[in-house]
């Protein structure tokens, strides 16, 4: 049994705010694939409190293409839905590819994209893609609604800017952030399924002839949060697409990553991956482009 004190099911946002206000210590649960695992492991912040289920709240569902080309993705979409959704596949295929690599089929059926980001794990597989698309997180709380760029959403491993009573409702990706881009994601792990990335890298690239006109890179598990690579991205602007450029991009990523040694891998090996994965991702993204 889980060490929880009560369970409430919120069936609308209004009901969620009421439940959250009545029990400020209660924790949100979406698919539960992080929450219930942590509760089972008796992680203090995940035991001894009530859970508020949010998966039946309509405002957090659906994937919509808005009039100005913005893609609005409800936080409760599961990995399976996102992988196969025609709008996602058409406009932000990098996200579809990235979430296809999460856990196993069972994990992808239950795990939500909102839970993946709110759990704030450094290796979350949806994060690098969402960072490169400059995704905006829509947050709703008792004080109203706000839009926060995903890069400002994280405070550290497992920590976000969400305050008690707030819920991440949707992810929004503007047309200018996906149009003309090609993307690829590498999850570098020991197994093909049911494994967490030792290091991961998403590349989103735009080319003009043989030149890179825009490059966005984001690493997972190369620091306390997912990290964009400002130095390498600025360098790439206008550079010819050559092996030398790709190698230099990889080297410059080391300026922005903060690899550490842990039980999964050494810092030396991670640093090596940091230098080679961007080039591989850029090449793969442009294959057939």
């Amino acid at each position: 049994m889980y060490d929880i004190t009560d369970y409430h099911e919120a069936t609308s946002l209004a009901e969620f705010f009421k439940l959250a206000a009545a029990d400020p210590k209660a924790r949100i649960v979406a698919g539960g694939t992080d929450t219930l695992v942590k509760s089972r492991a008796e992680v203090p912040a995940f035991t001894g409190m009530a859970l508020i289920g949010i998966t039946r709240i309509p405002e957090l569902q659906g994937i919509e293409y808005q009039a100005d080309g913005t893609l609005s993705i409800g936080a409760l979409n599961t990995f399976v839905t996102i992988e196969h959704d025609p709008l996602i596949q058409k406009y932000v295929p990098l996200l579809s590819q990235a979430v296809s690599l999460v856990g196993g089929p069972q994990t992808r059926h239950m795990g939500t994209i909102g839970g993946n980001i709110c759990n704030a794990g450094p290796a979350a597989d949806s994060a690098p893609a969402l960072f490169t698309y400059n995704t905006i997180c829509e947050i709703q709380g008792p004080d109203g609604i706000k839009d926060i760029p995903i890069a400002d959403f994280y405070r550290g491993p497992g920590q976000t800017i969400l305050k008690p009573g707030e819920v991440l409702t949707r992810f929004k990706i503007k047309a200018a952030d996906y149009q003309g881009f090609h993307g690829h994601y590498t999850k570098f792990a020991r197994r093909n399924a049911l494994d967490i990335a030792n290091l991961s890298c998403a590349a989103l690239v735009k080319v003009h002839g043989e030149q890179i006109s825009d490059l966005r890179l984001c690493f997972g598990a190369a620091g306390p949060t997912p990290l964009r690579m400002p130095v390498a991205e600025a360098y790439a602007q206008g550079k010819a697409l050559t092996d030398a450029t790709l190698a230099q991009i990889g080297q410059l990523c080391l300026r922005d990553t903060h690899d550490i040694t842990d039980w999964r891998d050494s810092k030396a090996f991670r640093d090596h991956l940091v230098t080679v994965l961007p080039g591989r991702d850029i090449t793969a993204a442009l294959r057939g482009a």
């Binding site: 049994m1 889980y2 060490d3 929880i4 004190t5 009560d6 369970y7 099911e9 649960v29 539960g32 694939t33 219930l36 695992v37 089972r40 492991a41 859970l51 289920g53 998966t55 399976v80 856990g103 196993g104 089929p105 069972q106 994990t107 059926h109 239950m110 093909n192 399924a193 049911l194």
Partner: protein, 171 residues
């Protein structure tokens, strides 16, 4: 604390006052005495506890029992045919010799059955990916994949033949 929930279990409408602290796995095994669903890891890693919820394969160990409210759930006890004959996928597991200790098999059979339902045809690679959430410590997987291929081939050969030859396990 208990919540009253209503759901469909192996085709039958059921009502249950369930402890909100329980996982679906615990409710199935303790409250319904359906012990075919196994607990391996208890944390979503192994698939031994797989059940089918509204046509999706889910790990019941990391699924709150109260979430069953309003859902249709199939466990290994619910997949044999109405007349008691094994389901085609169960028969295929036996024919292919895909079972050793058996602990992973309820989850494997359910995941395989749903995979077949979701795809008109399956390649070996698709079977591997479709079963990648189910671990087996005995068979080495090859014969399990053979079994799913066998079931797939049999339904391709004659889609109307739902019933496979009856197997006599006594030998």
């Amino acid at each position: 604390m208990k919540h009253e929930i209503n759901f469909t279990l192996n085709g039958e409408a059921v009502t249950c006052a369930v402890d909100i602290r329980k996982s679906l796995l615990e409710m199935l095994r303790d409250d319904f005495e359906l012990t075919g669903t196994k607990e391996g890891c208890g944390v979503g890693e192994c698939g031994a506890c797989s059940v089918i919820i509204d046509g999706r394969t889910v790990d019941s160990c990391i699924y709150l029992a109260v979430w069953a409210d309003g859902k249709a759930i199939t466990t290994i006890e619910g997949i044999a045919q109405a007349d008691g004959q094994l389901a085609p996928i169960q028969a295929a597991f036996i024919e292919a010799g895909a079972v050793q200790c058996g602990f992973c098999i309820p989850g494997m059979v359910l995941a395989s059955d749903q995979l077949l339902k979701d795809h008109a045809q399956l390649s070996r690679a698709e079977i591997r990916r479709g079963l990648s959430g189910n671990m087996c410590r005995c068979t080495g997987y090859q014969k399990i994949i053979d079994a799913v291929q066998l079931a797939d081939a049999k339904r391709q050969a004659d889609p109307k033949t739902v019933v496979l030859p009856h197997f006599n396990i006594e030998r």
